[in-house]
């Protein structure tokens, strides 16, 4: 018997945070919301297993990201969402700083964007980022450095380009 209360508590405590993280990675809030909810639905299907993980939210985040960047799933999800609810609702009101930052993030390569979000927003170490993305620490460091430099240029703030944290 799956732990219903445990799942609800987990979803309530982590759902919004994971949406924010995936949104920063992909740059589309509606897509992030739908991908994250699908990921939680999948987590619920195997909750007995997922709940035993050291960090179930990390599992959800990885699954949600994969769902979000999977183009054919994205197209199918849009169609399904449209059939469920009609045309998309108005975009949520976001702070202009958020919009500017996300626009800049969207202009750098996806791998750099993901690493930056995992490192600077989620708070993972370089090693943990490498584990989550199936990469190497040196590659992550390089992408972080390049990503910060690119963001610094885009946002006209050279301070961000410094390497390391």
């Amino acid at each position: 018997m799956r732990d219903l209360d445990g799942f609800d508590e987990f979803y309530g405590a982590t759902g919004r945070r994971v949406v924010a993280q995936v949104y920063a990675m992909i740059g589309d809030l509606a897509e992030a919301e739908d991908a994250v909810q699908e990921a939680y639905a999948r987590a619920w299907r195997r909750w007995d297993t997922v709940s035993e993980f050291a960090d179930p939210a990390a599992w959800v985040r990885v699954v949600a990201y994969r769902i979000a960047v999977s183009s054919w799933r994205r197209a199918r999800r849009r169609l399904a969402a449209y059939q469920r609810a009609g045309p998309p609702a108005e975009v949520a009101e976001l702070n202009p700083d958020t919009v500017v930052l996300v626009a800049a993030l969207r202009r750098i390569p996806a791998a750099q964007r993901r690493d930056i979000v995992l490192h600077h927003l989620v708070g993972l170490s370089v090693r943990q980022v490498a584990e989550e993305t199936g990469s190497t620490e040196s590659a992550v460091k390089a992408r972080l450095s390049r990503g910060r430099q690119a963001l610094a240029t885009l946002l006209a703030n050279d301070d961000w380009a410094e390497v390391g944290r």
Partner: protein, 289 residues
């Protein structure tokens, strides 16, 4: 300082958390349960049909039973790259076809009984990796696969001056991938090349989809994956197709004559097409071609 980036991202998170509209937990759980039951219901229906039909008395519905082997990929069947780092497998039978350049209604769904889609990168450590989708679509019979192939053929030979900008025809090498193989490709100005290869082997259709940023980036090993899939279809599903001979046993349909060569075509820019890969930014250091 990078702390400033961290702070700004933290502000983003706080802002987004207030704006997020998430469904209640019971709705999310119901969504998960619905998929769980639909999967098992499909398996149960297949089990019943395999056991002799719905009208036969005494047939128990075995929830969670394995599907009829004739309508599914066998347990040991593996696509190239399975288990490799960075590759994701999806066995969704209704997965959208990986090659749909004009974003039209999916012509490959009717009669489909199984599918496997592999997504990953050729040369993951290369600074210019090639994004790949390898997709095997299995049909109930050869006619259904032929119908799907006919739809895909129309897409692969699309007029380059048209809305989608893809062009292709009969695949003529360098690999011998079978008698009914088509290819199509396009250039996306400033973003690189995209191409696709579609092959039919009996009641199976195989789609290879590739996207790269640098013209001429080789992925011959992954073209050869088509041959590997064909061999496994023969060995494990008894879908055996002879190597290509002249003339081809199946009419490949209309196509440009003579077809442009694979690599020559990739050097030629065409109209900007629809492309589902464009948002993936496959290259960490994009260099316009």
């Amino acid at each position: 300082m990078s702390e400033q980036l961290t702070e700004r991202l933290a502000s983003l998170e706080a802002d987004v958390r207030n704006a997020v509209r998430l469904a209640p937990a019971d709705v999310v759980r119901a969504r998960g349960d619905r998929r769980w039951w639909s999967t098992r219901a499909f398996a149960a229906i297949v089990a019943v049909v395999a056991a002799g039909g719905l009208g036969v008395g005494g047939v128990a519905i075995n929830v969670g039973a394995r599907p009829d082997p004739s309508t599914a990929l066998p347990a040991g069947f593996e696509m190239p790259h399975e288990g490799e780092r960075g590759w994701v497998r999806d066995d969704d039978r209704a997965a959208a076809v990986a090659f749909n350049p004009c974003d039209k209604p999916d012509v490959t769904q009717d009669g489909r009984v199984a599918a496997r889609t592999m997504t990953g990168r050729a040369f993951p450590d290369d600074p210019y990796p090639v994004q790949l989708i390898q997709q095997l679509l299995l049909y109930a019979d050869e006619n259904a696969a032929r119908d799907a192939m006919a739809g895909l053929r129309a897409w692969t030979t699309h007029d380059p001056a048209g809305e989608c900008g893809w062009i292709g025809g009969v695949y003529r090498g360098p690999h011998d991938l079978g008698p009914e193989v088509l290819w199509s490709g396009t250039q996306v100005p400033g973003a690189g090349w995209r191409d696709a290869l579609v092959a039919r082997y009996g009641r199976a259709v195989y789609v290879l989809r590739a996207a790269g940023t640098v013209a001429g980036t080789p992925y011959n090993e992954d073209l050869d994956s088509t041959r590997v899939v064909r061999e496994r279809l023969c060995a494990q599903l008894s879908i055996c197709v002879l190597a290509r001979t002249a003339p081809p046993p199946t009419d490949p349909g209309p196509g440009p004559e003579p077809a442009p060569s694979w690599w020559d075509f990739l050097q030629t820019p065409h109209a900007t097409p629809y492309d589902p890969w464009d948002n993936l930014n496959p290259n960490p250091n994009p260099t316009p071609t």
